[in-house]
Structures are given as C-alpha cells and as structure tokens.
Symmetry: C2
Subunit: 348 residues, 2 copies
C-alpha cells in the first residue's frame, strides 16, 4: 500500500479529529432533513417537530478492549452504553440500536451468547430496542460497531457550540476512575502473564474496575433536566477525557474556560489509587477517558435548577476565548490545559 | 477463549441467519416507534406518516474485499451502494449515511482520500449525506461499517413477507455477472502472484469486473415504481444470490416459488465467461451474489405497470408453500432450488 501514491502522509500526523475534518471537508449536506452532520456527539435528522439523533461507535479488540480482562457480557453492555451516552449528550433519548459484529472463528456460539446477554441487559435497562445489524467473519479478533438512534424535541437538543461567556461548567459525576480501573486491570494482566499462578486481586478495586468494565450512561440526568425544565447551553459526554471535551466545547462555541481543580469530582478510591500508582489525581481526572459522565454548561440564571440535583458538580466557568482554557489549582496556580488527542492512535 | 465455557458450538453450525436468529431471540421490541426490527433488508422506525428506514453492513478486508484488485475508490463507492440498496429494497429512499472505519497503520492519508472520494461520489450520485461515523485503529487490515438512513411513506413500504400465491416474481436486471467478475479478478490475482511480470488482461472483461467492483443500487427502479404507482407485494435486494433471496421471500411470506430458467436474465458476457470457466451459467446466476438488483413480487393485476418498464424481467411465479421452491429448466426439467447460505462462513 505504501507505494501506490506519490506521497505518504501517516494518519497520526493529523490525529483523529484532524483526519475526520480532512476526509469529510468536501461533503456538503444536500438533504433538507440532514439538520446536523459531522462534528457533534450525534447527527440530527429532522422529522417534523421531532428529530432523529444518530450516533455510531466502533470497538476493536486489542485497541478498545482486551478479552483477557473484559468479560464478554460486560463488553456487550459497554458497547451499547458508549453509544447511548452520545445520544443523551444531545439531550435526546435513545430508542433503537443496531449491532454489527466481525468475528474470527475463535468465538463460539456460547461466547456470543455472553456478549448478547450484555447487549440485552443494556437494552432492557435503557429501554432501547435492538432493530438490526450485520454479522460477518474476520481473520483475527473482534470488531463491534453499534449505531444508536434516538429521538429528541427539536428545540431542546443541546449541541457542543452553545456555550457563552459567563456560563457555568458542570459535570454529572466523578472522573478519572475508569482510567485508573484500566491501569489496575493492565497491572493485573502483567502480573498474571509473568506468573499465571497468581490470582488477580480486584476485590478492593471494585469501584474503579467497574467504572472501566461496566460504565453507565446518564439517562437519569437527562430525565432530571427535563423534569427541572433545564436546557444546558452546550453538552458533550466524557469519552476521551474532560480536558479533550472542554476543548471541543470551547472550540465549537468560540470561548475559553476556567476549570477549578477543587470543583473536579474525584472519587476517594481514584484519589488513593492514583497516588499509589505515582500518578497525579487531577491529571487522571482531566485526561483519563471513558467515564461517560455528561459535561455541560448552563446559563447562570439556571443555577437553582441544578443546585438541588444530586450528582451535579459545578467545576468551572466559561470565559472569553482570549483567556484560553485554564486550570486553577487548589494551590492558587494557573495552568494551561492541553487537549489530550486521541489515545488509540498514540498508543500504538 | 475455547475453554471458558463448558460447551463450544462453532458459529458455522448455525450459519449466518441461524446465528442471528439465535442471538436475537430474546430481544423484544419495547418502543412504540420500533415498527420493524431484525429480519428484513432494513429496520423501520415510525415518525408520523413517514418512516425512518435503517440498514447497516460491515465490510472486512480479506473477507468482503481484496485490496490487491479492489481500488480504494471503488471500495468506498461499493461500501455505500450495498447499504443504499437495502433501503431501496424497502421501497424507501436513503437520505443519510454514517461511515465507521477501523484501519491499520499501513493506510496513509492519501489512501483514505481515495476511499473517501468513492464514498463522496456515491453520496453525490444517490443524493445522500454523510452525517457521521467513527475512525479508529486496528492491528491488521481494514473494516468499514456503513449505516444508511432512509425515508419512506409508511403505507408504501415493502417487506419480505408480502408475497401471495399467484404473484409474479420479477427482477430488475441481469444476475451472475458480479460473481463472474470476482472469478476473473481472483484468476488474474493468482496469475500475478505466480508471475508478477504479467499484466492483468481485464480490458475485455469490463462489464463483469465492473459489476463486481463498482455496483449500482436501483434508485431508478424505485423512482419508476413511484411514477407508475406500483407497490410490489414483497421485495429484497440481491446481495447473497437470487436463490438465497427467493428463499427469504418464500420463508417469510409462507409461500413457494417457481423460477423459470428462461426468465432469469443473464448478460451475454456472463453466459460466455461462465462456460469458459466450466461453470453452469444458471448456477452462477442463481447462486452468485452481489448483483444488487431488486428481486420483487407483484400482484398479476399490476403486470401492465411493469411491462413497459425497461430492465424488469418476470422470472417466475409464487406458488403454494407445499409446492416448494423450484427451477423449471429450459429443457423442461424441474429441480429443487437450494438456498446458498452465507458464503463468507463457508469460504474460510
């Protein structure tokens, strides 16, 4: 493949987001119903007063999951959750999913039953229907592609580009735990590989490991917003990490942000585990991904609507673009926040 | 993986369709808007008088395509077409697609540009918008997952289960050519591998190779149906092969079928090439897949609506279930037609 073209640019030079921008720059929306295309958590298709909201994600064995420590049932569950989370991040409700699978012949029907048990559990819990998909073979490994289809009220959808100077930056739960859960699993894997007789010690790590292996999507928060008549000014789900998501909101809204270290919720177990791994807890919280919490901004006049909601933390403020994207540390220092790019490309 | 479960059933024991039935048997549709789930060319989601029609397909390198002879631009084009074809097969029009890609680092940005040029061409030609997707890495090869979203009028959608005894079985174009195109490409690949100095001789095989590498979806036919106020009683697109598709319609409609060999359209080049390969042309036509023509049934009273349409061939009749699914040969013999299963599993 390398010699077919005169020039060879490595995809890593562009990064995930740069690559998507580059590949899709010539695509213009032609259909009136295509209300929003690439660039948010999900695409929007108009259907009268309602909008159909579509999101899709692909999970690849060896990149996004490791079957040495991810049970297939949890994998099935998580592959659905990550897509539902994108639909909730538009302030919409997922209704249907399709699941496509490419599998090598190492997977038995019984193994797939486990996977589908997890998919089924997620569908039941989030009231979503499995309506289609495709099943095919692949020479090696497993690839899962899920598309979620949701419904929202057109005038209540929330995008990434609506944050205004003065808005409060909020998050629905603690962050960094999923990343630390992954570090624990990776460590136990290495211990096991070098000494298969040693049983993994995960009993005291249930919270962190659970955040990594079996995340939940914040349906409850979207329901609470509706009940409290709160419409955030912008919203995104935390899949790549808080820093990266704040950057997306700031870039698309044309604003800056100040994040207060003291406002970033970190679970005590994450705090403890980070330190035991010689990691900085706030770095784990800002740069670790896969928490699937909702990061959103609200107009300050709506602060009473979130104040009494459990699980909502105000962690910063939207500022003019010129002021950049910064972290106020507990010690009173100010640091520039840098966006984590796309880890999968980096990690190869 | 093989020792995790007490029993190990190979997926090949169930076949593609059996596997899907098995894995999804516990999933019940819960949402009112989920009008039709698994089991047709596409899923249907209700949106007032209109329906959102969703179809998804996954293409895997080494299984569905071979980059030794499939140019990336053609691959991009085809990966869109196969999904649009499923939407047309519901008598609906595709409006949007999402494209997810898993790529190994052997692909450069320039290679992806080629792929997206083909995707763009298909979007332009079929008036479809690219609205989303996902891009990720994989250790080896390439996986493309496309989801197509279409719109149809609820009372004009056509399913696989509406064929009635006495209906005429029709097809929109010649079949078997894509399969023979693949045989030519495979032969040239073997010649090249054993003697890289020999240039492939594809100049006289353009029709067959084109049917394999750059198929089209029959948008024109769905437009012609609308113009002629024709609503087929059942419809499916020819991806796995005519025999397999006739089986799907018969099974879901609870009927049998008689296919007249003389009524099955075979292109002269396909006829000639089959014989030169020592293959039976009618077997290629019935069992070769990827023609992406529409196979459909009509009420006999509608015969005038198709008679003057170009490209429509009446190739048989729907009969009672007890009469089975049979081929009337030109020589007057009657053969049982057997459904081709899913070739990708068999070919491994």
């Amino acid at each position: 493949m390398t010699n077919e073209f005169g020039k060879r640019t490595d995809v890593n030079e562009l990064g995930e987001f740069g690559l998507i921008d580059h590949l899709t720059k010539n695509f213009k929306l032609k259909n009136q119903s295509s209300f929003k295309g690439i660039g948010d958590d999900a695409a929007i298709i108009e259907n009268g007063d309602f909008a159909t909201v579509i999101s899709t994600d692909m999970l690849v064995e060896g990149i996004h999951f490791d079957l040495m420590y991810s049970p297939l049932k949890h994998l099935g569950y998580k592959s659905v959750i990550v897509n539902l989370s994108d639909i909730y991040a538009m302030n919409a409700f997922p209704k249907q999913i399709t699941v496509s699978l490419a599998l090598s012949n190492r997977f038995s029907v019984e193994a797939l039953d486990e996977l589908y048990e997890g998919i089924h559990l997620a569908c039941e819990k989030y009231n979503v229907d499995l309506v289609g998909g495709d099943t095919t073979s692949i020479r090696k490994g497993m690839v899962i592609s899920v598309t979620a289809i949701g419904q929202g009220e057109k005038d209540k959808l929330v995008y990434r580009n609506g944050a205004k100077v003065g808005d409060l930056l909020c998050i629905t739960g603690d962050v960094g735990a999923a990343y630390l859960g992954l570090q624990i699993l990776e460590r136990e894997k290495q211990v096991y590989l070098s000494n298969p007789g040693v049983q993994p010690d995960l009993e005291n790590q249930k919270y962190l490991v659970g955040r990594q292996l079996k995340p939940e999507a914040r349906k409850d928060m979207i329901e609470a917003f509706a009940k409290n008549k709160l419409i955030p000014t912008s919203m995104i789900d935390v899949s790549d990490g808080v820093a990266s998501e704040v950057f997306h909101i700031c870039k698309q809204s044309g604003v800056g942000a100040i994040v207060e270290e003291s406002g970033v919720p970190i679970h005590p177990e994450a705090q403890y585990r980070a330190i035991s791994f010689n990691l900085d807890p706030i770095t784990c919280a800002l740069s670790g991904g896969e928490d699937y919490e909702l990061l959103f901004t609200i107009d300050p006049k709506d602060v009473d609507k979130v104040k009494y909601l459990p699980d909502i933390y105000i962690m910063g403020e939207i500022v003019p673009k010129e002021d950049g994207i910064k972290l106020h540390t507990k010690g009173g220092n100010v640091h520039q926040i840098t966006a984590q790019g796309w880890q999968h490309f980096d990690n190869k």
